[in-house]
């Protein structure tokens, strides 16, 4: 299950951040790391990107990038 599968309103825990290079690093630099809690807030009006709450702030993330983040409830 990845972050892109999660419906708005749910809180999940990050299991692993896959991918490599700049994208993976950027996702982790912004605070989405193994074990941290993420709340999915909403989906943008045109269907993409999604908005999540992580470490107390709001982050916008494309679904394609969110699909690199493995999560569990």
């Amino acid at each position: 299950m990845t972050l892109s599968d999660i419906r708005p309103g749910s809180t999940v825990k990050v299991r692993k951040v896959s991918g490599e290079g700049a994208t993976m690093r950027r996702i982790m630099d912004m605070g989405i790391t193994k074990g941290c809690s993420v709340i999915v807030r909403k989906v943008a009006p045109l269907g993409d990107p999604i908005e999540v709450t992580v470490r107390g702030y709001e982050l916008s993330l494309r679904k394609s990038d969110a699909s690199l983040i493995y999560v569990e409830s």
Binding site: K16, I27, D29, T33, K34, D48, R55, G56, E58, R62
Partner: protein, 672 residues
Amino acid sequence: MAHTIALAGNPNSGKTSLFNELTGSSQYVGNWPGVTVEKKEGHLKQSKHHIVIDLPGIYSLSPYTLEEVVSRDYLIDARPDIIINVVDATNLERNLYLTTQLVETGIPVLIALNMIDIVEKRGDIIDINGLAAALGCPVIATSAVTGKGLKDLVKQAIHMVDNHMAPPISAHFSQETEKALKDIGSLIEGTVPPETLRWYIIKLFERDQQVQQRLDLDQKKIAEIEAIISATEEKLDDSAESIITTDRYDYLTAIAKKTHTQKRAAGSLTISDKIDRVVTNRFLALPLFFVIMWGVYYVSIQSVGELFIGGIEWLFHDFIGANLASWLLSVGTNSWLVGLLTDGIIAGVGAVLTFVPQMMILFFFLSFMEDCGYMARVAFIMDRIFRKFGLSGKSFIPMLIGTGCSVPAIMASRTIENQRDRRMTIMLTPFIPCGAKLPVFALLVGAFFPHSAWIASSMYLVGILAVIISGIFLKKTKAFAGDPAPFVMELPPYHMPRFKGVAIHMWERGKEFIKKAGTIIAVASAGIWILQSTSWSFEFVETQQSILASIGRFIAPLFKPLGFGRWEVAVATITGLLAKETIVATFGIVLGLGTVAEGDPTLVASIGSFFTPVSAYAFMIFTLFAAPCVAAIGATKREMNSIRWTASAVLFQTSVAYLAALLVYQIGSLIF
């Protein structure tokens, strides 16, 4: 002897405001050598010998973006005396993530815990002493907005600089990781300055390519280091980069938990969240955006802006122009020179400057939208569209600014990190109608479509369509193909910006517009006036026999397939290349009407001889897409930093203009 203080921090941490407060008017803006990353420098208000360098807003010191590389290179090589790290107190963990990396460079760090006023308003408490003890750095609570803590910050900074403080404690990673780092350390000890050892060890563990290139170690050492990394990755079942970043955040979460007491429950909605329920709502977001933009344009371009136009026209034409002319003539100045000054330069510059009030008001609104946090939401909403051609929602903002003037719009593309994306944005932005193109549309719509004023507004839609179609097309070409850059963007909390900040922001944009009038347009207007009043034998003649007219006749055949193959129109397109504002004035001159504006009834009536409704629309399309004014081309060259790319952009835009106008005229003539 000069000391340097580096200013580092996340975007949206209030770093810019703090820099302004620290340096005041001594600041100046340049570029980091060899790259198009903005560099701001100044000195402390209190002391000329303490220079402050503003590093780009960064979240980390990874090797992946230009801003980060420029920052880390500066810190490792230039070795400033101290770093003032601006930390957004309302976003502690993510901001401290950068702090731990700054500390590793071995330079003393002073933390400015900024936006403390918001923390207090929320009812949260931060244990400043505990934080300072845990991080090993002095921490001063500040609020650039209220001015709190600034005096203490400066005092502490100067004290640290003058007393050569020891660098602070570095973050601790997990036991396994620390062991691996120690082993790598013993391999490279002695090859790097000791205060940077920790930095290099960690970077090597992360397989940082930029550091690997720098150190240029021999094959044996590289292999040994790789072995250590792989062994650790296996033991911890995770990749090296992930191990380091996760460990950092775990270390910081522990510190934050101890020192930060939050009043509201985690996950509950803040005021910003509540506002966003409407602003980024699935059904309301886009309509709301259009309503807001309509309001902004109505106030700046139509109602309030228009009030000023009459005044400025009077100022330049009637007051300055007429008085200067009569004075010069009375002291016996050659009438040709008087003509050059009044009808050439002053009229030309005046034509551009009549737009200044509208531009300023427009830029004020756009700056407000940026500073309050709304623009980030706009990028969030629009991202899906831009992703189709490899860009991101961030590219929308320069285009929005481009509805005022392309020059600041092209400069605004600096916020786009990926160079390829930035180039495409710069090339496409001029397709959006800028304020200067509006009079041309108004003139032709008034003359040929008097009952369909909406046609002028349709130009915006045409511009947007052109951006989308060109974007998709360019994406397929080799120069722009490739994986899209990651779009991971913070949505900062809304806040009411200070008037001073918005005004400075507005002025930065607006002054580019004014500068272009004072310089390029002045010279261009003089040049055009000379060309249209002089013959090849350097005699003072009527426009019909001038140099400009003969150039116009020469290139006019090119425009025949577009429906406007007359030398008068060809001349107008040439002058339009210099500044779109001059197109209307040029029509007035070639018709022998002197200096007129687009509303002038004689002009509207006479222009009918040059076009048919279809060819008039084709001309509007051509004007919309053709290469922007010289000032914008200049800005393009500055931002692209390459003549080849600038030429490609101009060629691309003009080709699109020609093709589009051609299609409109040929197909239109068949239908209408």
